[in-house]
Symmetry: C2
Subunit: 218 residues, 2 copies
DNA sequence: TAGATTGTTAATCGATTAACAATC
DNA sequence: TAGATTGTTAATCGATTAACAATC
């Protein structure tokens, strides 16, 4: 009998980066009522090699079946579990400007189990307002709030200059995960995980691609 | 005498993804009045090897000096040029909801030369409104607008279900670059470049990291 | 059973790191 | 000049692809 999950945790970053994409595609298959899929078929849709898909899945144990392929529902459940999307996460947003408000309003994340509990800002004009019924609080209340409400993820949407300071603060209050939207690399202790959304980096990459395209239209 | 720029265009994706980060760090050095930097020093700040930094820069020609290092201003100018940030780009946003409005309000991109010319939406309640003085237009006017105003980049901020349709439209109107915020992989011809900001993928990656951290706190 | 497709090992490819001659 | 640091070649490492036995 085969053990369902191999020793996870030493999976390379390259593989981890592909997992959300697998999740999206398999979820789409679910929505379309597809019940089984082979690595060959998935490879055609996703533009990867079938070999790579099988290698990737096998980092987490074999959940396919020889001669059949993968059961879509089973695969979806496994990917959900692997990504930790079978749990709920309490979040707060720090910085209730443009970006902060946009994320607060983006309800799709709630469907995936990321529950926004509060926003925080330094600006008196924003404090006391609410987005989707969720109050914007004074940053000074952060410590007290976190003590009373266990928070899994702090979403940093402050200006660049304040981001590291805010990060230090949330780390001090015991929050172990940061989703950072400020255009700067934040430094955190090794027992805190961070994921960056560097919008400007993405835009610069696009302008690089444009330049490349224009100089060499292949 | 050495040629300043090697044959660019065959640079690996791994290198290209690091370029915006180099740009940010070197800009920061400029701001702080630093005039020279060695690959060893930069490597310490950025958490890369000095070897990798030299290899990366040398994809675009040697702009360092033996025994001295790199002149910060020169390096900054080179990176600006390499990324295509010495030019201006006209942009439009399609989808003037949360995300679209947030991007429209984020003025930092204008400083880098990305000029927002218009927003487009399908919702009659939004059409006619303006953000930073830039009008939200009916999506039906897109074709006529693009004909009169040359647009370099279309920023797609529509719901998932409309993204591919909108992409097909902008491609038909001759726009060659797409910055996509919809949580879906858009298909475009090979003479169009695309860069995705998959926020949900980033969030799922974070939840993966949280799970990993909790199961194996190293 | 025969056909299909996985899981897994081996081969290849590309990216990163190390080393050092060139040279400022 | 001597010391420092690049540019570049060679060595290593890791990720991707190919191949195929296992097996449903």
């Amino acid at each position: 009998m085969r053990i369902v999950a191999k020793e996870e945790g030493k999976v390379s970053d390259a593989v981890v980066r592909r997992l959300p994409r697998y999740y999206r595609y398999v979820r789409e298959l679910m929505r379309n009522g597809v019940t089984r899929v082979s690595s060959a078929e998935l490879s055609k849709r996703m533009g990867l090699t079938a070999s790579q898909i099988r290698q990737d899945f096998n980092c987490f144990g074999g959940f396919g079946q020889q001669g059949y392929g993968y059961n879509v529902e089973e695969l979806y459940e496994q990917l959900t579990r692997i990504l930790g999307l079978d749990e709920q996460y309490n979040t707060i947003i720090i910085g209730a400007g443009n970006i902060g408000q946009a994320i607060a309003n983006y309800t799709d994340f709630e469907k995936d189990g990321f529950i926004l509990q509060a926003l925080f800002d330094i600006n008196p004009r924003l404090i006391g307002l609410a987005i989707r019924g969720i109050e914007i609080r004074d940053i000074d209340e952060l410590g007290a709030f976190v003590q009373q409400h266990p928070i899994d993820i702090a979403i940093i949407a402050t200006p660049r200059a304040k981001a590291q300071e805010v990060a230090d603060m949330v780390v001090r209050y015991g929050i172990k995960a940061i989703w950072n939207f400020a255009p700067v690399d934040i430094v955190v202790p090794s027992d805190v995980v961070i994921e960056n959304v560097h919008l400007s980096d993405s835009l610069y990459t696009l302008s690089y691609k444009i330049k490349e395209l224009r100089s060499d239209p292949d």
